[in-house]
Structures are given as structure tokens and as C-alpha cells.
């Protein structure tokens, strides 16, 4: 019995161990569908992460900009205050000194028992922007002669004032009034020992400083009218945009016998694409503005592994032709340098990359709302091909070989695309704004001709950047 049971084990094992069966084709279809669902979820997750990171970086940038702006404003205000403090302090110290000198001169006069004239004179330097005032202090007791001389000097000064009225600024006049003391000249004989010490008050370098002081002291001086600058019509934007690219393909009906539109469409996936550039905005009026500039874009497309076939190229040489949605190219690996037409080669995952620089021209309709500025834009862009290449790895019996096709055949030098989108600007200050611009770009003509398929690239970009007022 046991032997029979052991035999049963061996019987089934020998019969069914290496057994092979093929399931129905729907099994793979179901697996295919499930994998597509998984891809969609993983792509969403992948871009979710990218979006979160972009948002965090943007927030960090905004915070840094606000911090920078506020610290600059604070330091500027300190400088202004310091200037004012210096000038005020100078005035106060000057006045103090003057009063001290008065007391000193009084005490010396008393001591000397000699009448001493109090002479105060303001001498205004006629050099522009420079006003100096100084005084010579002497005790109050004066002689009648001195008094008469004072009168004559007053008259003389009045005349001087009349002459200078035209050239003097309003501030200077008022300053004279402020700091004018008794204007009389002392008669100073050579023998006199009372040589009044002339103390120069602090210099007021420019009338703006005077204005600051006078405003602080309560006088309503309005020296110079503020020349209000007109806001500039020009502004410069710098941006970076991750792009979600998708192609529209049409059959070209060339003599390509091995691949059709469906094969090419199914066999390719768009990888991460991006664009960046500089844009110049010109305000036509409050609502409308024109935008142009220079942008660079990079498009990457993944090509699934496939079999490629040898056929004649332009010069009649037999090479393996690799078709893509952008165009085609030829490879001739070292291990198969002399193929016959129809010979095949297996390529692993390939990648083709296109680089363009574009000249866009758009019209923007602006709606300002507080610190935000919303705009809708529409325009056209001329796109110039900078480079187009295909990189692939071909299967070989010995060692797989990497091939690079530096120039994709069939690509046009220029193609045109339309632009439409929205822009949201947040003004950090009068000069700087953060910009968020989702834009849809759609091809107006194909990027290639005489290729297996005609391609019309479309993309949706999420541009993020800064705008600087010029």
C-alpha cells in the first residue's frame, strides 16, 4: 500500500512536473489593463510629488523675497534717521556752544570792565548748496557809534538780500530767518584783543538735508517738489516650466513597410519635458500688454524595444532604419556592418530628444485685483530646431552595442505653434512679482515631413517665475 502511494507521488510528479499549457489570450489583455491602471496611478503619484516640491520651493522663495525686501527697507530707514540725528545734534550742540560762549564773553567783559559789542553776523556763502552761518558773539553793552554802524550795516544787508532774492531758494531765505542773529559788524581794531572766535556751525551739505531738518522741527518747508516717476511700461519675466507633452499623429503614407501609425503611437511614451526662458512684457494700456521673448524647450520620448529592419538609405547603402514619431535614422552596428535588405535587429529601449528655441508673441488681457494681477493670453510662437537625436542599444550575440543617431531625418527646421493660457502675478513690491502661468501650446503645423507619421506636438506647461519691472 505504501509502495503504491509512493508510486502515486512519482506518477503524478513525472507526468505533470514539466507540463506546459497556454492560457487564453484574454489573460494577457486583463494583465495589460491592470498594468495601465497601475501606470496611471504611479504617474499621478510621481507628478504629485513634483507638484508638492515645486509648491514648497515657491513658498520658500516668496518668504525669502519678503524677508529680503523688509530688511532692506529697515536698513534704509535707519540710514535716513541717522542722517537726521547727526544734523539735529549738530544744531543743538552748536546752539549750546553759542550760549556758553555768550556766558563766557559776558563774564570776561565784566571782568575786563570794558564795553564790548555783541556782534552777530550771518554770512551766507553763495556757493550752491552750501550755507554756512557763523556768528561772533560779544556782550550787549554798545556804544552809540556802534549802534549807528549797526544800522548802516543792516541797510547794507537788506540790499544784499534784495540782490540775492532771485537766486536764493526759499529754504535759504527761511534758513536765514531762522539763524539770522543781530547783523552788525564789530569794529575790531588791530589793537583789540577781543578777537571773537569764529565758530563755524555744522555744514549743511545739501538742501534736502535742510528740508529734512526743517520738516522735523515743524516748519513746513517744501524745498523741492518730488518728481513722481511714471511707472515703466516694460517688465522682464524669467520662468521655468515642466511640460506635459502629447503628440497628435497622422499617417504619412510613406513607403515604410514595417511600421504604421498604430505601432509607433503604441510604442512610445513621453518622458519629462521642460522649458525655460526670458519674456519681455510691454504695457499697451491698463488692460492690454504684449509679450515676447526667448524660450528653450526640451522634449524627451521613450521608444519601446522593437525589431528594426535593414533598408537602403538616401545614398543607397543598406542600413537598419529606426522609426520614431519625430522622424527616423539609420544605424549600422559594428557586428552587422553589411546587412541585406530585410535583415532585422532587436533594439532595447530607445530615447529620442528634441530641443527647440522659440520666439513667442502674445497678447495679454490684464485684470488687476489688489496685489494680484490675472491675465489671459493668446499668441503664436515660431519654434526653431536646435537639435534632434536618438539613442538606442542594439542586441548583439556577443555584447549589446549603444548607437547614437545625431540627426533625426525628416524633421523640419521651423514649425509654428499657438499659445493660450492664463497668468497669475503676485506683486511682492512695485518692482518684483511672482508669476504662475499655465499655458497650452498646440502645433499649427507638423514638425516633420517625409517621415513614417506626421507629428503635431502639443504640451501643457506650468510656468513658474519672477517678473521684474524695468
Amino acid at each position: 500500500m505504501d509502495k503504491n502511494l509512493q508510486n502515486i507521488e512519482d506518477l503524478f510528479k513525472n507526468a505533470l512536473d514539466d507540463n506546459e499549457e497556454i492560457p487564453a489570450s484574454k489573460v494577457w489583455d486583463e494583465i495589460d489593463k491592470s498594468l495601465d491602471k497601475e501606470n496611471v496611478i504611479s504617474i499621478k503619484k510621481k507628478y504629485d510629488k513634483l507638484k508638492k516640491v515645486s509648491f514648497l520651493l515657491l513658498c520658500l522663495l516668496i518668504c525669502l523675497s519678503v524677508y529680503e525686501f523688509r530688511t532692506n527697507r529697515f536698513t534704509n530707514s535707519i540710514k535716513v534717521v541717522n542722517k537726521e540725528v547727526i544734523t539735529k545734534n549738530d544744531i543743538f550742540s552748536y546752539r549750546k556752544k553759542n550760549s556758553i560762549n555768550k556766558i563766557n564773553s559776558k563774564s570776561t567783559a565784566k571782568n575786563n570792565n570794558q564795553p564790548q559789542a555783541v556782534i552777530k553776523k550771518t554770512v551766507i556763502n553763495k556757493e550752491p548748496g552750501l550755507n554756512t552761518a557763523y556768528s561772533i558773539l560779544q556782550p550787549k553793552n554798545t556804544n552809540p557809534l556802534l549802534a549807528a554802524k549797526r544800522k548802516s550795516l543792516k541797510l547794507h544787508e537788506k540790499k544784499q538780500d534784495q540782490v540775492d532774492n532771485d537766486s536764493e531758494t526759499k529754504t535759504e531765505k527761511e534758513l536765514k530767518q531762522l539763524y539770522k542773529l543781530h547783523s552788525s559788524l564789530p569794529e575790531l581794531s588791530k589793537s583789540s584783543t577781543n578777537t571773537g572766535k569764529i565758530r563755524k556751525p555744522p555744514k549743511y551739505v545739501n538742501s534736502n538735508q535742510i528740508k529734512n531738518i526743517s520738516n522735523q522741527s515743524g516748519n513746513n518747508l517744501d524745498i523741492t517738489k518730488k518728481k513722481e516717476r511714471k511707472p515703466s511700461k516694460l517688465s522682464l519675466s524669467v520662468f521655468f516650466s515642466p511640460d506635459f507633452a502629447f503628440y497628435k499623429l497622422k499617417d504619412e503614407n510613406t513607403d515604410n513597410e514595417h511600421e504604421n501609425l498604430a505601432d509607433i503611437e503604441k510604442g512610445e511614451d513621453h518622458e519629462f519635458s521642460s522649458s525655460a526662458g526670458v519674456l519681455l512684457n510691454y504695457k499697451l494700456n491698463k488692460k492690454l500688454s504684449l509679450q515676447t521673448g526667448l524660450t528653450f524647450s526640451n522634449i524627451s520620448i521613450n521608444v519601446h524595444p522593437k525589431t528594426i529592419y535593414a533598408q537602403p538609405d538616401f545614398s543607397g547603402n543598406i542600413k537598419y532604419r529606426l522609426n520614431t514619431s519625430s522622424g527616423y535614422g539609420y544605424v549600422l552596428p559594428s557586428f552587422s556592418s553589411n546587412p541585406n535588405p530585410g535583415d532585422s535587429l532587436y533594439t532595447f529601449t530607445s530615447e529620442h530628444t528634441l530641443r527647440y528655441f522659440s520666439l513667442p508673441l502674445s497678447l495679454k488681457y490684464n485684470i488687476p485685483k489688489g496685489r494680484f494681477n490675472f491675465s489671459a493670453l493668446a499668441g503664436i510662437s515660431a519654434n526653431y530646431l536646435m537639435s534632434g537625436k536618438i539613442e538606442t542599444t542594439v542586441e548583439s550575440p556577443v555584447e549589446n552595442e549603444m548607437e547614437v543617431i545625431k540627426k533625426i531625418q525628416g524633421l523640419k527646421k521651423i514649425y509654428f505653434s499657438g499659445l493660450t493660457g492664463l497668468a497669475v502675478d503676485y506683486n511682492i513690491n512695485k518692482k518684483v512679482a511672482v508669476t504662475f502661468t499655465p499655458v497650452l501650446k498646440f502645433a499649427l503645423n507638423s514638425i516633420n515631413n517625409n517621415s513614417p507619421v506626421k507629428s503635431y506636438p502639443n504640451s501643457f506647461g506650468l510656468g513658474v517665475g519672477f517678473t521684474f519691472g524695468l
Partner: protein, 191 residues
């Protein structure tokens, strides 16, 4: 020969890499290479071809999801096989319970050579016999006979005791023997 083996390994590695990169053509290629053996395995673990298709489908989805975990240690086919077995067990865990020990009457043995039996009955009929077993007996029988696992390992995997595993195997063998003998008798009558 060695060069060929190295090349095969490299190609396998490249195929796995492309599958990890979610390249659909490579995934399809991998499926086509391994599905005949895996489907046959799933047929042994299932009650009918429809269940086997479900198991193989779930198994391959799991293979593609977990491919990045494969560390190139051991055979790749063995790794896929394990995933299929887990999928089969998971499939029946949700649908049925492991049956307890059942007393089965012993039957009289009919002595016959395995080759002779195989010639008379054929693979498909033997497969049907396995499929007619209850899920618990079927899984234990497959794990013991085809995967070469010990009762302790089987018990750990299925969450049953070692004794239950032994009894299930024994019962499975008896049932299969009865089934074989009945089929032989029917085959003999035809002749």
C-alpha cells in the same frame, strides 16, 4: 557554452530592467516566456481552467509589481514560481478553508507500472484527478510532491499544524489512488 549562458543571463537582466521601467513590450515578452509553465502550475492548484487563469493573471500582476525586489539570487523562474504559488494559496484562502482530517477507507491496491498508467490515462486525466481534490488536499499535495517542501514548511505557509499537513497529504494520495484505479478499470473495460 559558458559564453552563451552569460549572454542569456545578460539578456534576462536587460529584460527584467526593461520590465521594471514599465516597458510594455518587454513585459509582454516576459509573460510569453514564462506563462506556459506557470499556467500549468496554476492548473494543478486550481479546480478548473477558469480559476487557473485568474490565478496566473493575479500572479503576473504581482510579478510586475514586485520585480524591483528581485535581487538576482537564485533562478528567476523559481522566483516567479513562488509568486504563483502564493497567488494560488491566496486565491483559495478567500474562498475555502482547509479541510480537517477525514477518515477514508483504504482500498485494495492495483499494482501497475507508472509508465503503463501514464500510457493508458494521459496527462490531462491525471490533471483532472488533482483538480477534483478538495482545495486543502490539493495544495498540500502540490507543495509536497511538486515543490518538495517539508511538512513543517507547508504548515507554516498555510497556517495549519504539521499533523494536519501530513493527514491532508495522506488523504490526497489515497483519493488519487482510488481515482487512478477507477480510471484504469474504465480503461481496461474499453479495451
Amino acid at each position: 557554452m559558458l559564453v552563451k549562458q552569460v549572454n542569456l543571463l545578460e539578456q534576462e537582466a536587460q529584460l527584467i530592467k526593461d520590465c521594471i521601467n514599465k516597458d510594455r513590450t518587454s513585459q509582454s515578452r516576459l509573460y510569453k516566456i514564462f506563462v506556459p509553465k506557470m499556467y500549468a502550475l496554476c492548473l494543478r492548484y486550481s479546480k478548473n481552467p477558469q480559476d487557473a487563469e485568474e490565478i496566473v493573471q493575479e500572479g503576473f500582476i504581482q510579478v510586475f509589481k514586485s520585480l524591483h525586489n528581485y535581487k538576482h539570487i537564485g533562478s528567476f523562474e523559481g522566483w516567479i514560481r513562488k509568486i504563483m504559488i502564493y497567488s494560488a494559496i491566496q486565491h483559495y484562502r478567500t474562498n475555502s478553508k482547509m479541510h480537517p482530517v477525514i477518515n477514508i477507507e483504504t482500498t485494495s491496491a492495483v499494482e501497475a507500472d507508472n509508465e503503463d498508467i501514464l500510457n493508458r490515462l494521459g496527462k490531462k486525466e491525471l490533471l483532472k484527478m488533482i483538480q477534483s481534490l478538495s482545495p486543502g488536499y490539493r495544495i498540500v499535495f502540490n507543495l509536497y510532491v511538486f515543490e518538495g517542501m517539508k511538512h513543517r514548511e507547508i504548515a507554516e505557509m498555510l497556517g495549519i499544524s504539521e499533523g494536519t499537513s501530513k493527514s491532508n497529504l495522506s488523504d490526497a494520495k489515497i483519493i488519487l489512488q482510488r481515482a487512478v484505479m477507477q480510471s484504469l478499470k474504465v480503461a481496461q473495460k474499453r479495451i
